[in-house]
Amino acid sequence: MSSPIWEVVSFRGSKKSDDIFNALKNVPLFEDLNPKELKEIEKIIHRREYKKGEPIFRMGDPGLGMYIIIRGAVNIVEETETGKSHILAVLNDGAFFGDLALLDEAPRSASAIADDNCDILGFFRPDFLNLLYRRPELGIKILFALAKIIGERLRRTNEQLAKLEQK
């Protein structure tokens, strides 16, 4: 059974695009933003390229923010103390992960490793908090979308728990 934390809640289509603007438009976190507001997000987003096998973040690292895959694939991996690891999810173009780190610095619950050469966007808590302070109306839209995503995950977790209890 896959963990609801790493499930992609929803993203509209998997249209390949290396245009940051279009990639952002397809992320549920930014779905309520108008083009002008998306341009504002575009200004604070970081674009990174990762080679196959390169870690994006490691389990236990302080959480800093979320990533959106423009192109490539990312493995979400749980590492045990004995050094063994198992893949929790494989995420592809348009998927996003690490969004809970937008809220606090709690250690990452799993590692994210590039499964292919990846083109990725990073949206980080310090920039988000700064945006929330400077442009509260825009920050609140993102915060509300984040709350909806977390709520959706919680609902799915409850459903899975209920199923387990029935068994």
Binding site: I44, R47, Y50, P55, G60, P126, R134
Partner: protein
Amino acid sequence: MDNYSYRLYSQILTLFWRVLLGLLGIAAVIVIFPYVKSILVLFVIALLLAVLLSPSVDFMERRGINRGLAIVIVMLLIIGIIAFTVSLIIPGIIGAVESLSSKLQSDVITDLNNNIENFFAVNFNNAELARNITSKMNEIGLKLLSNMAEFFKNVGSFLASVAIVPFLTFFLIKDMRFFKRALIAKIPNKYFEMSLNVLQKVGNQVSKYIQGQALDAFIVGCLSVLGLFIINLVFDNPVSQFVFIGMIAGVANLIPYLGPIVGAVPALLIAVISNPPNLGVVLLWIIITFILVQVIDNSFVSPMVVSKSVDMHPLTVVIVVIIGGNLAGAVGMLFAVPVTGIIKVTIAEIVWGLKHYKLS
């Protein structure tokens, strides 16, 4: 060469190149520093101003004002306040210095010349020697005055350089985020998250520290002005230019331990020069005022507004202030503690990052 020797040889060679590059780097910094010192000081001033003014700009941006326009408004306001304060204070100071120097020239110097000539004429019967001595003294005096003219010329060129500060400040406030983003874009993936996190934490702590110090300096300045104003009311104006002295006390307060003394000395000097009838009592009250200001600052103001993350040992403060003075004069002394605080916070955060991130 066996495998072990080869590895050892290659390690020693790598170490040699690293040390050589490190030493060359240090030498380059030492050689370049004198040429970039003045622009570096201006940049530090602009950076401090950017940190101080950013909250006001963010506040205006929150209310829907375009960021560029908000920066212009805030900077015009600040320049206006500074110009107004300077226009209030400077004529008074120039007047006081002029009256003091004319008093010294007319009375003291002439009297001193006459006394010396009389002394030599009466005691050694040698007016020629006396004239030589007095002319030598006058020569030294003229030299001092011309040095002073040179000093003011330097101040002029300094002020011209300072005109660059508003431009630097404008672009630092407007584009700081983009500078940070451009800088972080160059960091390898392995260190990316750690660097971004550390940079952000350092930025936050440094901003809080600088804003806290500025607020503390402002409050100490206001308290000093208030105290000296009351002394002026009670003792018939023994401390002229008390607003200016209060400002010096506020700014000097940026240097822990030494600042309060630097703040009190001008007030005591002015009181001594104006020589009121009850000088002893006035001096005592000035000292009490500055002690009271320090007690209020250390007990109530400083704990509330100044970040404790950059607390320094008094000996460290003295050493860094001396080093700052050697590197960049009075400005260096003033900024020595804040800059050391920034370096301390940066090192602490880098150590935190190295401890918490898995970089292997």
